[in-house]
Each structure stands twice: as structure tokens, then as C-alpha cells.
Symmetry: D2
Subunit: 264 residues, 4 copies
Amino acid sequence: MTALNDEPLRIGARTFTSRLLVGTGKYKDLDQTARAIDMSGAQIVTVAVRRVNIGQDPSQPNLLDVLPADRYTILPNTAGCHTAEEAVRTCRLARELLDGHNLVKLEVLADHKTLYPDVTETLVAAKTLIADGFEVMVYTSDDPILAQRFEAMGCVAVMPLAAPIGSGLGIRNPYNLHLILEQATVPILVDAGVGTASDAAIAMELGCDGVLMNTAIAGATDPVLMASAMRKAIEAGREAFLAGRIPRKLYASASSPLDGLFFG
Amino acid sequence: MTALNDEPLRIGARTFTSRLLVGTGKYKDLDQTARAIDMSGAQIVTVAVRRVNIGQDPSQPNLLDVLPADRYTILPNTAGCHTAEEAVRTCRLARELLDGHNLVKLEVLADHKTLYPDVTETLVAAKTLIADGFEVMVYTSDDPILAQRFEAMGCVAVMPLAAPIGSGLGIRNPYNLHLILEQATVPILVDAGVGTASDAAIAMELGCDGVLMNTAIAGATDPVLMASAMRKAIEAGREAFLAGRIPRKLYASASSPLDGLFFG
Amino acid sequence: MTALNDEPLRIGARTFTSRLLVGTGKYKDLDQTARAIDMSGAQIVTVAVRRVNIGQDPSQPNLLDVLPADRYTILPNTAGCHTAEEAVRTCRLARELLDGHNLVKLEVLADHKTLYPDVTETLVAAKTLIADGFEVMVYTSDDPILAQRFEAMGCVAVMPLAAPIGSGLGIRNPYNLHLILEQATVPILVDAGVGTASDAAIAMELGCDGVLMNTAIAGATDPVLMASAMRKAIEAGREAFLAGRIPRKLYASASSPLDGLFFG
Amino acid sequence: MTALNDEPLRIGARTFTSRLLVGTGKYKDLDQTARAIDMSGAQIVTVAVRRVNIGQDPSQPNLLDVLPADRYTILPNTAGCHTAEEAVRTCRLARELLDGHNLVKLEVLADHKTLYPDVTETLVAAKTLIADGFEVMVYTSDDPILAQRFEAMGCVAVMPLAAPIGSGLGIRNPYNLHLILEQATVPILVDAGVGTASDAAIAMELGCDGVLMNTAIAGATDPVLMASAMRKAIEAGREAFLAGRIPRKLYASASSPLDGLFFG
């Protein structure tokens, strides 16, 4: 099942039918991880190279054993990195462990509390990684100017936050997302902050190309059921975007859509 | 496909696996009506007895020909009625036309502009209809006191508006819906005002038992695709409700959920 | 200090320069009551006849001693009444105690938890009181149809709730308020639910004629300071309404105001 | 009139009783400028050095003639600058024209459409200006990490945007503002995006130290009246913040404040 009447999501040279990207952290165990990810229908699974064993330690269980490479595109990420240098080093390690795989998700976090991106360090790291042949999907704030800059540098996808990582607050500033989408020519994927199914649907209805989430699924009371909810929500939001919603009016017979003069 | 791990929706003695109820107005033609309703997965289809031919005129196309009785539960409604008397008469006509079928959706509208319910006339009509053996699903405002009264009178479902009919404004007052849900023992179905997929998901995440819509699907640029979106959104919202979402926090490591002291 | 360039608020035959109406409950003592009300600049002060001594018991302190009649218009209200009959009886008692004063605030509450109005009992009481020569200001839900009906019956002001009494939630449904204001020819005063200064300003910016509040002032940590805040907020909101705000746009150079297609 | 019970606003070594800062652009003429600014009660008036004559051209009317130096603190700003170098040069010009005055508002805009700040150029400019002895008040996005960095560099005030300049959208992301306020030790002044009085009040209720605005006043139908509205709104919001508002609850007798589990 995928969204009807849709084109695939293109990231660099790769194409995907699913627009839901998921993380692998915070699950109870590898079995729950595998079942939830399976239920989500995700084709791109992001892995925190600094926290998860994808081969660094051959004596321990390897996450890739439950995420078969022929089914999933593994997206190494730099979670836990707080400088450009750490992030670059981590991407290079991932490329080695994954036999030359060059698609990475760059995140350089500023602090341990808000987990907001350090955008200046992220700019430095993105430049170095692109020069080094990586395809960079970049986690950033919802600043439309920075989104544009990351695209101009050659990032293959820009991933603005909806709200702080793990906050579950949903899309805090749809205006900024709209400004980002208006000018983007690479995929815009909401990354971080989704709390429940409607948050994911709203991101897609705004015109985002996909959503990446982890805590909203892994932290739910029933992660596997929430994975199903998110899969359907992403498809619902995408289809609603493609289907062309009715305008908002104060009442059905009003002659013009609401113009925002009165309401927030 | 229905929501995972779910119980059926029970309305009176009937049970349903779909929680999306749809109307039949505003489509281009009967063929589009049938295709959109099929795609929606709805099992309950509401019909405006005063506007649609369900046998009143044997010489004209009959809507029921494209909505086979073995697949759909037809829900006659009293759209276009502005007094209790008209509404009661319309329900009795429907019962005749439908061979004794006694499940009806009661709506008594106050004016032609906002299409808000006339709650006092609705109370009168509900009382008469229940005494006359009808199973009444009642369209009303989002006033929690009135919702409680309709339930106490014996209505089999209470259907508060999310926003004016056809407005596409989504759920204007989730607080009132929450107050209604907190005390209800019959199904609470949001009726009217949904504009896009996320609106439907939000209603289900609040704990509503279902959503009835018409314009949001029939008025979309591509009604059949929007019907698919709504089907998935209802299931997504229901599954998210059952799965137990993560709490909203200002940031992931915050010790307590947001308490509403600062934010609206 | 009052709003600049403004006309007075007219309720029946009376006129007022202040558009902030206040209650008298929940203060620490009569002294704090008097100081907060003085600071608020209110000219209309509502009194719960069933709870407050305005002469019923000559042996106890009388609230009217701290609210001189030459400065304040006392507005007896029927708080604590749950039937039309109780409310009518209470208004008649007030008229006796206040030497024929016939301006009253009618409220008939449905339950002890939400303090929502019982709109059907309120309709009955309003009819009786108006026939009996009272000038009725009526507390009701935000249902635009009922607001219209109360006006048509002859109520001198309609007072829709912003949110449940004492909830501090602010204006939950500005759309309903807008529908009420669009058609009203008597003053529309928001009654109940205001939490802080901006809530009061928003009500006035929507075009309301005034706001009545009690808990938001009396329940604040510093009631006298909050009374000052509310006075200024009411004037600020009124002046902003009269001054004609700039349109909302996605950015300054956008050619048209936001049309609500994308944002909630 | 200023907010009751309040401490002065301290910016660097200066203190102010007004917390409303205003711009000078977009007025009909100098007379309207002077009357609106007078009515606003502002003590800090910001001037776009690249657009306004403050002595660059001795043959033309000088804005400072209607803004007497003994009453207003002139705050030169770098509107129209799109690089760090332009901004630094503009500040130096202003210092010359204003006899050594070293308090400036730094803004480096990224584009002509959204007027969003270019945060990386702004960082460069701030560093240079501080090294050169300026007291820098800095216009920035609502990114809490950047706000912290500007403070750490030595900026005397941080001025996050509420929404795009001239958009009138109000505070788009109160969560980000809250994160900024939680950690700040210099004044946080909302700059840009305010549309009407309640927007200003909300900023102050969140705990901001002040608000700077221009279009919301100059672009109103009646700028002088809107200036009065904004003055009162700033004071109302500040007093409400100091007075300690009541908690938000679903209803008055609810035992705990709303925890954000259900509502957005």
C-alpha cells in the first residue's frame, strides 16, 4: 500500500515509494524494532552510528541483521556529534562499515537539552562532506534562509525540524515550512517533533516530501500499532495534498475563503 | 483494511468495522458518487431524503441502485428541515421508503447561511422520533450539556459539529469535544466541518468514535483520491488513539509534560 | 483613561465608558475586592445574589458599602441557579433589595462541574424576566443561533462564553464569536473563560463590545495588578479594533492577505 | 503611565520605563511619525540609517528634528544591509553622525522577499562591532541556540523575530521564545511580526522584556490610535506577566492544569 496516484520520492539517484522514514532508537529490543519498522512500511531507516552497532563491534548483535539490506536503505546519522569534525569523522566511519555507502543524514547538535541543531557547525560539516563525495541529507532548523543555503551547497534533501527532537509538539511553525517549500527543488522532509498521526498528516498536507520520526513510534505505548498509524497518516496526508482540499470558509455559502483578517 | 486491534463501532444493535461515515451530496454524478464512496470504505452512507431520490420518484435514477443494501447501511437524514415537524415527517417517509428501516440521522437546521442546528427544535424532534421507535443519531452543536441531554433521551449516537457544514475549518473547539467524550456512553461522531485528512485524524485522536463527512470528499479536486485519504486518516487517528501517543514536552529531556501554563 | 476615539458602550438606556465588567467573587476580603475593582476601572460590577450579602442579612457586612452606588452600576446575577424558576425568583429578590433596579445578568447553569449554561432553561427564564420588565443580559454558549434568539426575544446584551467559567482557556472558538458579532445589533460581551490580558484584548479585537471576568482577576497572584492589566488590555484591544490592523501576510511584500488555504 | 510594580528595562548601562520600541518607516509624513511615536510612549526609536536622513544630507529635513534627543534614545539600525561588511560600515557612519553614540540595532537581511535575517553574516558583523566598541542589539531568527550565542558574544540585547517583518502574523512559535527566555540573561525583545495589540501582549506575557515594531503601527488605518493601543498592550502584557495569571484548566474545578496530552 502506498499513496495513490503518486510519484516516487527521489533522493539523489534513489527512488522510494514510502515517504515515512524511521529511526531505530528507544525500542525495547531488536525484535520490537524490527516489527515496528516492518509495520511502518519505511524503506529508509536511519541509524545513529555512534550509538548502534552496525559492525563496529563484531562480537555484539548487529542491527543490520534485523534490517535486511535488500529491503531497507540504511541511512547512517551523526546523532551525538556536537562539532563538524565529529560529524565528518562519523560519516566516514559509516561509509567504511557500509562498503562505500555515501548517503548520510547529517546532524550536529548544539546542546544536550533541546537537541537543537548547531547550524553554523552543520554548514561547515555539510560543505566538507559534499566535497568528499557524500550525499547529504541535512537536519536543520526551520529557518527558510538556511534551508535554501543547504540546498544551494548541494545537499540532496533538507530536513527542517517540526519541533525539538522527542518533544512530540508537532509542527510549531507551518509558516516557516511553507516558506521553505515554496522555494525548494530538493525534497523537504520534516525531521523531529512529530507526536502523533495527525502531526505527520499535516506535514504532508503542507506539501512536505516525507517525514522522519523515531520517538513518536518507539515511545508510544504500543509502538507497532503506532507505526501502522504513522504509515497510514503519511499516506493520508500525501493523498489529501494531491487530491486538492476544499477551501476554508466561515460557512459553506461564504463567497470567499477566509482571509486571515480575523483569525490566528 | 481497518484499524488494527480495534473493536467494532456499535450503533444501537448494529456493528461496523469502518468509522468513516459519508454523505452523498455534491458529487458530479452517480458514478463519481459510487466510486468515491467505494474508495472511502464507508459502511454507513447518509442520504438527504428531501433532496435525493431513494424511491420517491420511481421514474428517476435511484441512488440506492449504486449503493447496494447488502454492502451499505443507508442512513436517511433530514437535511433541509427547519422545524421539528418537518424532520419527523421526513423520517417517517424514509421509514416507509426503506421498508421499516428505523435508523435515522436527525438534523434540524436553523438558517440557510451557517447551517447551524436549531437545538431547541432538534430536542423536540428527537423526543418524538424516539417515542415513535426510531433509532436517532443526532446532529447538534458542540455544547456538552446538550450532548448529554440527547444521550439521556435515548439517542443512539450524538454527532457534534466540528465547524459549520461545508466550512472545511476542522475541529474548532477540541475542549468541548473532550468534555463531550469524557461523559459519553453512546458513540460520539464528529459531523460537519472536516476539511482535510488531518482534521479527521485529530477527531479520532481525541477519542471520537467516528466521523461523518461529505463536502470534504465531494468538494475536493479529486474526490476519489480524497476518499482514500480520509479512509486512511480515520484509521491512522484511531490507531494513534489506541496506541497511546507520547506526551508533549518542551524538549525530550523535560521532566514533565507541558502544563499549559505558557502556551495556548 | 478610556479607549480613545470611542463611543460609549450602550446597554439598554445606560451608557458606560469602560468596557470591562467585573465580578466580586473569590477575593481574599472586601478590601482586596474594592481595591481590585477600583483599579480595573469597571463601571458595571456583577454580584451573585445567592452568595453575597447586598442587604439580605442586615447584620452582616454589605458588599454595597464598598461599591458606592454613585460610582458603580450593580449587576445582580443568578449564579447558583439551575432552573428557570430559581433564576426568576432570584432576579425578583434582587430588584426588591435594590429598590426597583431592573438590569440583571441571567445565568442558569447546567451542572456543577463545567458550569456550562443550560440553554433551554435560560430561554424560559429570559422570556419570563423580559415579560416582567427586566432588562436581561444573558450568559449563554457561543452558539450563534441561540445568540440571535436571545436578541430577538429582547435581551439587552448577549454574553457568550469564551471558555468554561474559571478555566482561563481564553477564546476557544473565535469563529463562533465572529458569526455572533456579524449579525448582532445589541452588545455582545464575552463572559467567562478569560485567563490573561491578551485573551481580553483578542475579544475586543474581534469586535466584542466588552468583556466580563472574575476569576482571571481575583485568582491571580496579585489581583490588583491583574486588574490594571485587564483594564489596559480591554482598552488596547478596543483601540486596535478601531485603528484598523494591518492584514496578515506570509511576508510583507506578498500581494494578498493569507487566505487560510494552508494554515489553521 | 508605565507598568505598575515594575523594574526598568536595562539595556547595557541605559534604563527605560517604556518597553515598547518603535521604528520610523512607512508613515505618511514626519508629522504623523512624530504624533504616533509620541502616543506610543516609546523611549527608544530605531532609525534605518540607509533610508532616513539623520544628518547625512544637511539640505533635507532631518528626522531628529522631530525626535528630540533629550526625550528619545535613537537606535540606528542597519536595515537594507545584506552583508556583514555593509552593516559594520553603516553602524560606523551612524556613530559619526550621532557624535559617538554606540548603541546600534544590527540586522543583516538575507533576501528582499522574506526579510529573514542572514544569521551567519549577522554573527560575523556582531563580532566585529562588539570588538569595535559598539553595544549591539541583534535582530535574529527565533533559534534558541543562536540567541544564546549572540548573548555569549556580548550582545546587549537579543531580538528574535515573532514572524517575518511586516507580516502581521504575531508570535508564530512561542515555544522557541520560551526556550530563548529560559536561558537568557540579557533582555529579549521581540522584533518583527507583531500585527495587533494582542500579539504584543502575548510577547510580554511570555516574559519578553520588550517589543519593537514599526509596520503594525505605521501601517494601521489610524497609526496614532494604534500607537496608543500598542502602548497599553505592552503594559497590559507586562503587568499580567508580573501579576501571575491563573492556570489553564479544562474547567474551574479540575484538580490539575491542562497537561497538553489532548490539546495542541
